[in-house]
């Protein structure tokens, strides 16, 4: 069995020797360097720009401004394109913008012979602005009289959503009736999450040049085929005239599921005669000008019967979209949907979501796509209800959790498999839930301990909200090994390794005999929309399985030509064998025959597309034990465990590593990370890795990852989502542990010492 083996990553040796090439490692030298001028206001217009001094600086090749760019607005999110206009992404920015919407907006670019000259030239550009007031929060942007950040949306509301599930039972007409009925216990809550950044260690660098009249862009992206399309849209040229190459990439986490500076760089090379231009985005620019995770505020209500059964819930989410639409309303829509799906409402559910333009740097996709936010609201609220009603928080969750066979009333996504309840039991047993709850109840004193938990559900890919398609190509080599070529992308998560294992499994050969082409080149790679939505092991996995089986059938068919009298041909230990298990010919010899036979020469290959029309839910939970030093507001996580049902694990060792990384991101979200802004100017105050508190090795306890493996009937190998889920339940688990320790319910993130001191003062503990 190749699936289920803990083999080392196929790229590990290249990465520990420094041989693995990332975008900037491939950049030719010398190269022209581009640098972007960022606005020093957060809201307004560029009235005029004087570039004469900059243009005159020796070494400057070209200065281009927001007055020079094509008059085309284009969309940036890494969604599959839709041929229906109503489902297309919001096109709300130009390559460089006259209309300034965030502090640091892109308003001009310099191309120079070296970077020092480029940066000197930026300082010589004189800009005259017309300045508007700044709104960093939705309330301010929606206030009467606040200027439209985009003229298409006069009230600064990008989109609204209002969904009511059908009401069950005849007693009530609306969710609101249930939520005001004296028959049930009624609860309300308000929860808020903060803006955080992906902090992949490789910034999103690219270089671009022209060849044969076409533009090539080499870039650090999760979505090469989508980058190609968006460059075409932004420049108003045919998509076939663009070639995008993706080498190894130093982390993405959703930020590189957005088309960031590639269109500008593609345009810049066309403005300097096709010469190669590098656009190296600094860490500070990555914070200010790329994406982040949305701050979302939630108002929730629930009606619960005396047994602890959820009768009806309401959830309203307001998402702070910053200056550009990015993924539009999709993320907050996913948040309220995910909020609804985790638990069943016996009577009904009402969800409202709105996405509001503000003057913050625009958030976009980040590991979990709205679910880390809604999960904080959901799991804090569930804990608060259980505490108020005196219910066992584990039993309360298990009683109401999504059941096997659940079908979403709107999108039809079905729960094909679930081990959520088993995950909860396993996590509780590992942490010693019952003993710790007993041990830590009714504590006093300045330093207290607690234990808490949270659980989640997460869908696998984007069907049916969006297209799910994936293609694969397999090519026989002369030695009987196989080249695997995909449009799916390795971004650090281990995709290439598990894809190789899946191909080997489907063909019937060892993984060592599968050679995956890691770099994507849109000129040659089969079409796939890329790495996002925890989709690739599921969606691309289906394509690999389909093509692997076709490839296997072709090998066996050629073998049948060589051995017409043999029965029950199969592949066994790198050989063609007959039904009795007798080896007839090695795959290497079969391959040589196929290549060079004078009777029938054929290059055995298989290529196909799998249009995936299914989805499934992954589940899991987090348990955390904390120590709280109340006077200084310091929370120390002593022990933590995540337990996941991601279906069958393709590579258990890599799965465990993926969970560690997600838990780490969850701990940063819980305790320290937050993008902070000057409320007057809108300027980001901590856009660097010193002031933005990314966890270091000293900030973490040992991270424990456990699994309950199910075999999902819809998954290509019984597998389902794993990439994003580990980051989801950590923050509410830590919050609930703090609640148990101190009795203080913290309803906003992060739980940093400054914030906790305020909370403890409010709670009367300080």
């Amino acid at each position: 069995m190749e699936v289920g083996r803990s083999i080392p990553r196929v790229d590990a040796a290249d990465k520990v020797t420094g041989r693995a090439k990332y975008t900037d490692d491939l950049c030719p030298h010398p190269v022209l360097e581009a640098a972007v001028l960022h606005s020093t206001i957060a809201n307004g217009w560029v009235k005029s720009m004087d570039i004469s001094e900059a243009q005159a600086l020796p070494g400057v090749v070209k200065v281009l401004t927001c007055f020079d760019v094509p008059d085309i607005q284009y969309p940036t999110p890494g969604h599959p394109w839709s041929v229906e206009a109503a489902h297309q992404d919001v096109a709300d920015r130009k390559l460089l913008n006259r209309r300034v919407r965030i502090y640091g907006d892109d308003i001009a670019a310099v191309v120079a012979e070296d970077l020092i000259t480029a940066h000197r030239a930026l300082k010589l550009i004189r800009v005259e602005y017309e300045e508007y007031p700044v709104a960093l929060e939705p309330e301010g942007a929606m206030a009467e009289g606040f200027p439209p950040i985009h003229e298409e949306h006069p009230d600064n509301v990008l989109a609204r959503m209002d969904l009511r599930t059908p009401i069950r039972g005849g007693e009530f007409e609306t969710v609101e009736d249930v939520l005001s009925s004296p028959k049930f216990r009624q609860f309300q809550g308000h929860y808020e999450t903060q803006q955080v950044q992906h902090c992949h260690i490789e910034n999103p660098v690219s270089f671009a040049y022209m060849e044969s009249g076409r533009i090539t862009v080499v870039t650090s992206t999760q979505i090469p085929h989508i980058v190609r399309r968006v460059i075409g849209q932004a420049l108003g040229i045919g998509w076939g005239s663009i070639r995008v190459v993706k080498p190894y990439i130093g982390g993405g986490f959703g930020n590189k599921q957005e088309v960031l500076y590639e269109p500008l760089n593609a345009w810049l090379t066309t403005q300097v005669g096709g010469r190669c231009v590098r656009l190296d985005v600094s860490r500070e620019e990555t914070f200010q000008n790329t994406r982040s995770r949305h701050p979302i505020s939630f108002d929730v209500a629930a009606a619960v019967d005396e047994d602890g059964t959820l009768m009806a819930r309401y959830c309203k989410a307001v998402s702070n979209q910053g200056g550009y639409a990015s993924h539009g309303n999709a993320i907050v829509a996913n948040a309220v949907t995910g909020y609804r799906q985790l638990y069943l409402d016996q009577i009904g559910h009402h969800a409202q979501a709105l996405t509001v333009y503000t003057n913050r740097p625009a958030p976009g996709a980040m590991r979990g796509y709205g679910i880390p936010q809604c999960n904080f609201a959901s799991e804090c609220f569930m804990e608060d209800i259980a505490r108020e009603m005196g219910l066992d928080p584990l039993e309360f969750r298990k009683k109401n959790a999504m059941p096997l066979g659940y079908v979403d009333p709107f999108n039809g996504i079905t729960c094909h498999s679930t081990a959520l309840r088993e995950c909860i039991d396993k996590g509780a047993a590992y942490i010693g839930w019952d003993e710790l709850r007993e041990k830590y109840k009714n504590q006093t004193g300045p330093v207290r301990r607690g234990v808490g938990m949270a659980c989640f559900s997460y869908k696998t890919g984007v069907y049916p909200i969006s297209l799910e398609t994936s293609s694969a190509r397999m090519v026989l080599n002369q030695d009987g090994t196989v080249q695997l070529h995909l449009g799916a992308t390795e971004i650090g998560q281990g995709g290439d390794t598990v894809f190789s294992q899946m191909a080997a499994q489907a063909i019937g050969i060892p993984t060592e005999d599968v050679h995956i082409i890691s770099f994507q080149d849109t000129d040659t790679a089969p079409f796939d929309t890329g790495a996002y939505a925890s989709r690739q092991t599921y969606v691309t996995g289906k394509a690999i399985k389909k093509v692997g089986e076709e490839f296997r059938a072709k090998l066996l068919s050629y073998a049948a030509e060589l051995f017409p009298d043999a029965d029950g041909l199969t592949i066994l230990h790198r050989h063609i064998a007959d039904g009795s298990g007798e080896k007839l010919i090695s795959l290497a010899d079969l391959a040589l025959n196929a290549f060079y036979s004078l009777e029938h020469s054929v290059h055995i290959t298989a290529e196909d597309t799998n249009h995936c029309k299914d989805n499934t839910f992954a589940f899991g939970c987090c348990f955390a034990e904390v120590e709280v030093d109340i006077p200084v507001g310091k929370i120390k996580v002593l022990r933590i465990v995540n337990v996941h049902d991601s279906g069958r694990l393709i590579n258990p060792q890599l799965a465990e590593a993926q969970v560690h990384g997600g838990m780490s991101m969850g701990l940063g979200y819980a305790l320290s990370e937050e993008m902070k802004f000057d409320p007057k100017t809108g300027r980001l105050l901590n856009g660097n890795l010193l002031d933005y508190k990314l966890p270091t090795a000293m900030d973490h306890p040992e991270l424990k990852a456990l699994f309950v493996e199910t075999v999902d009937p819809s998954g290509p190998f019984g597998n389902k989502a794993l990439g994003e889920p580990p980051a989801i339940p950590v923050a509410p688990a830590v919050r609930n542990a703090v609640l148990y320790a101190t009795g203080v319910a913290v309803n906003s993130l992060p739980m940093s010492p400054q914030h906790m001191v305020e909370e403890f003062q409010r709670g009367g503990l300080i």
Binding site: P8, D11, V16, D24, I116, I201, G492, E656, H700
Partner: protein, 161 residues
């Protein structure tokens, strides 16, 4: 303006022209092709550009190349044995699944070389502190610590014999 830098890089004498304003990271990457030296912040915050200068781990992005005059520099490219085999530290990173996107990996491996080279044994918490100058977003540091711990223990066993 060009200055001549003479130093030893990965056990070979090097003599090259450099701009006196340039960082060691840029010299190693762009003039010597040693692209294992990664740049994640260029201000000494992330640790991705760590190399050893005379055996000491430094952030090469904030180390001027002119300071390396006459010194001995080691990068990940210089770690493999003469037959091309992985060093014990590199093997530990592979086998402990301490590598994901791999961008922070060469820098942390160089710190691990310094840690192992000290000949001392460390507690888990001491190792956490010793690698805390490296930021990693993929691994939660868990398997990196396992790999460094393993490399330290293996070296200690070897020395012990």
């Amino acid at each position: 303006m060009i200055e001549i830098l003479r130093c030893t890089v990965n056990n070979k004498p090097v003599e090259i022209g450099i701009d006196p304003r340039e960082s060691l990271a840029d010299t190693l990457r762009e003039r010597l092709g040693l692209t294992s030296v990664k740049k994640g912040c260029e201000v000494g915050e992330c640790g991705a550009c760590t190399v050893l200068v005379d055996g000491e781990a430094i952030d090469s992005c904030i180390y001027l190349s002119v300071w390396a005059q006459g010194k001995t520099i080691l990068t990940v490219e210089g770690l493999q044995d003469p037959d091309g085999g992985l060093s014990p530290i590199q093997r530990a990173f592979v086998e402990e699944a301490a590598v994901q996107c791999g961008f922070c990996t060469p820098g942390i491996i160089m710190s691990a070389v310094e840690i192992v080279g000290s000949g001392k044994q460390y507690t888990r918490d001491e190792l956490r502190k010793l690698i805390s100058g490296h930021l990693c977003r993929c691994t939660g540091y868990q398997n990196i610590l396992n790999a460094v711990e393993r490399a330290v223990n293996e070296a200690h066993k070897f020395v012990g014999k």
